[in-house]
């Protein structure tokens, strides 16, 4: 089906999404096609009204396209029922939101486990894995904390750990640094780079150029169509030392 030698995390072809508002049909996406190979790091950009959010909802399996197909692994998401979409979200997609969206009544570890709870694979093995992920994002000593006891950067790192717990086909980050200051933004971007270096596929929706330059590839949308789909020319890459430095600072960050 695809000639590319690399395995694909997602294949989007001819994706269209129409909304009916009153008597008017709004064509939010007018045929978008691209492929995301495993290990890619894509930034999706575009002004408001460009169909960015619509594409994000479709990529996140929160919505179904009007036309076109979205292959996630071997399955076409476009034809799935609501419950099947839920199951796909629980097992193949790792969400990272702008406002972290942790569940207030759960601790750090329990928040990380939520996708597994809905996937139905919660056990003592997965608890170890969740603890490991918390440690990986530098929160190994705050497992029992509630989200309200954490800073914004720490909450976002919990959210990233949560997005990884189900070993997803890709991480879908929606303005993941939008609520963070520049230092914390660097911290999160360094974490994303580290994950990408380890082979994770990342799709990042952003409107900030300083953020998108950390990706490998940028897709620019305009009026529901792809305007540009190209590799980032002057990609900003954190060096090994920088990553170490940043993560050291992050884990010694005082409690707020």
């Amino acid at each position: 089906m695809n000639a590319s030698p690399k395995k694909m995390a997602a294949i989007i072809s001819g994706l269209q999404k129409h909304y009916v508002l009153k008597s008017e049909t709004v064509r939010a996406l007018r045929g978008v096609s691209f492929e995301v190979p495993e290990g890619d790091y894509v930034a999706i950009m575009g002004p408001s009204g460009s169909g960015k959010s619509t594409l994000l909802n479709l990529l996140g399996c929160l919505d179904r396209p009007t036309h076109g197909s979205f292959l996630l692994g071997d399955d076409d998401v476009a034809t799935m029922t609501d419950d099947e979409l839920s199951a796909i979200r629980a097992s193949r997609i790792g969400f990272v939101f702008q406002s972290y969206n942790l569940i207030p009544q759960l601790s750090v570890v329990e928040n990380i486990e939520v996708p597994l709870y809905y996937k139905g694979t919660l056990n003592s093995e997965s608890r170890k894995r969740s603890i490991g992920l918390a440690a990986m994002v530098g929160l190994g000593d705050r497992l029992g904390h509630r989200p309200t006891q954490l800073s914004g950067g720490q909450q976002q790192r919990v959210a990233i750990a949560r997005s990884l717990v189900n070993d997803p086909y890709f991480i879908l980050a929606d303005e993941a640094t939008g609520n963070l200051d520049s230092v914390t933004t660097e911290e999160i971007l360094a974490l994303f780079q580290r994950l990408n270096d380890e082979g994770r596929t990342i799709i990042m929706v952003t409107h900030e150029d300083e953020v998108s330059v950390h990706a490998k590839r940028v897709i620019r949308l305009r009026d529901g169509e792809i305007q540009v789909d190209e590799p980032i020319k002057n990609r900003q890459v954190f060096t090994e030392e920088q990553i170490k430095e940043i993560s050291k600072n992050a884990s010694s960050e005082s409690e707020e």
């Binding site: 929160l62 609501d82 419950d83 839920s86 939101f97 009544q105 139905g120 056990n123």
Partner: protein, 446 residues
């Protein structure tokens, strides 16, 4: 495992707003408690009623004399005898075959005094003329001495048997046996031959609403009464005299078996009304029928109480629904996040349903605990009323003073079951509303 986690999560979500959850629980708690209390009280009242009726004797038929209203209106009145007569008594005794025993009874309100104890003012009591069988039919228990004997009746002796309370008032520190009781209005003395044990009041009969009280009774042979006092009673009230004439106050007919009671009652009534079908001066009371009526009344009463309790449970349920709808709106974002992370609609429904069921189960269980305390609370309240507001307590009907709330065992599982049903019923709508939310909209919700 998954289910356990759902419950744990539900409880934790509820504990995020402890005050709100507690108030919601209170609604169900009050509902369940009121089911148990109301049923216990109605059971207590109806048991007390039934006991009073049973004390009349289920195999008895009681014929009371009723003084007809004064129709002459003038100053000069013809003194006409009313009520059941000795002729009626003989007729019933001789003609009806299912009758085992017939008791003639004549009652007079009377003052009693003891000359050996001048400190005590004459007591207003009741003088009862009866026969020896009276003690068997009404199940009197003698504590000292003996009841009237047939010998004493035949010889028309001036002997009497007195009720326990009267004995304790007139003879606080003496043995009443062989002492003389003085009747100041009749200028008569009676020698005490027996003292009774305290006797419970029985149900109201013969047109009066008050329960019959036996605590100030004195029993003398009816033959003695007739010989000494005749059939006429003169009463002086405010300067004018009133005279009434009656032979008997009551005839108690004891029937062989309870099964024969309705048939015999009809016969008795027909016999008494043979001459004048519209006779107003007697009332035939059949305790057995009263008992049957009381059983029906009990059911009605219980249904009525259940209805009141059900209303309070529904109110509690609406409280739950109200809170859950608010919670769902407030937690729209959480619902969106959960949906994005893979929760199915059914997972969301389940989550919120678990919370409402938790609320209603907690309310149900605490309600049952509180409900079980009902009889103690009732006892304390009654005691408190008695000692702090005796006037108010005096207004409480006799039944209310005597009865003990009795918890109906079935009310516990039933009220618990209803509270759970209420939880599910009123939780379902908010939970489904939560599940029907569009995850994209929910995620965008601020």
């Amino acid at each position: 495992m998954l289910l356990f986690r759902t419950w744990k999560l539900g409880i934790r979500s509820l504990l995020l707003h402890p005050m709100r959850s507690a108030l919601t629980v209170l609604g169900i708690l009050i509902g369940v408690t009121s089911v148990i209390w109301l049923l216990a009280i109605s059971e207590g009242i109806s048991k007390e009623f039934q006991k009073q009726i049973e004390d009349l004797g289920a195999e008895n038929i009681i014929i009371r004399s009723i003084q007809p209203p004064d129709e002459s209106g003038g100053n000069f009145r013809e003194i006409k005898a009313f009520g059941v007569s000795r002729a009626d008594y003989n007729m019933i005794n001789r003609t009806i075959s299912t009758v085992q025993r017939v008791l003639p009874i004549r009652e007079l309100p009377q003052k009693f005094a003891y000359t050996g104890n001048p400190n005590v003012k004459p007591i207003n009591g009741r003088l009862v003329g009866c026969t020896p069988e009276y003690s068997e039919v009404t199940r009197l228990v003698i504590s000292r001495g003996h009841f009237l004997t047939s010998q004493e009746c035949e010889s028309k002796s001036s002997v009497c048997v007195i009720a326990a309370q009267l004995a304790s008032i007139l003879f606080p520190s003496e043995d009443p046996i062989n002492k003389q009781i003085f009747l100041p209005e009749k200028k008569e003395y009676f020698k005490i031959v027996g003292v009774l044990q305290p006797r419970n009041a029985t149900a109201a009969i013969g047109g009066s609403l008050a329960a019959q009280d036996f605590s100030l009774d004195i029993y003398i042979p009816i033959s003695t009464m007739r010989m000494r006092m005749g059939d006429q009673e003169t009463k002086r009230t405010g300067g004018s005299f009133s005279i009434k004439s009656f032979e008997l106050s009551q005839i108690t007919v004891q029937v062989d078996t309870v099964d024969d009671v309705p048939k015999t009652a009809e016969l008795v009534e027909a016999t008494l009304r043979a001459k004048d079908p519209d006779r107003q001066d007697i009332a035939v009371v059949v305790p057995y029928e009263l008992l049957e009526q009381a059983k029906t009344t009990r059911l009605m009463f219980m249904m009525f109480m259940c209805l009141i309790a059900a209303i309070s449970l529904v109110v509690g349920g609406i409280g739950i629904m109200n809170i859950m709808l608010a919670t769902v709106t407030e937690r729209t974002r959480e619902i969106g996040v959960r949906r994005a992370l893979g929760a199915k609609r059914s997972d969301i429904t389940q989550q919120f349903l678990v919370e409402t069921i938790t609320l209603s189960v907690v309310g149900g269980l605490t309600g049952i605990l509180l409900g079980l305390l009902g009889p103690f609370v009732f006892e304390i309240a009654r005691g408190g009323l008695e000692s702090f507001a005796p006037n108010l307590y005096g207004l409480v009907p006799q039944v209310g003073r005597d009865m003990n709330p009795e918890i109906v065992p079935a009310s516990i599982p039933v009220s618990f079951f209803i509270s759970v049903v209420v939880g599910v019923m009123f939780g379902l709508y908010p939970a489904m509303r939560a599940a029907q939310m569009d995850p994209i909209e929910a995620l965008r919700h601020e």
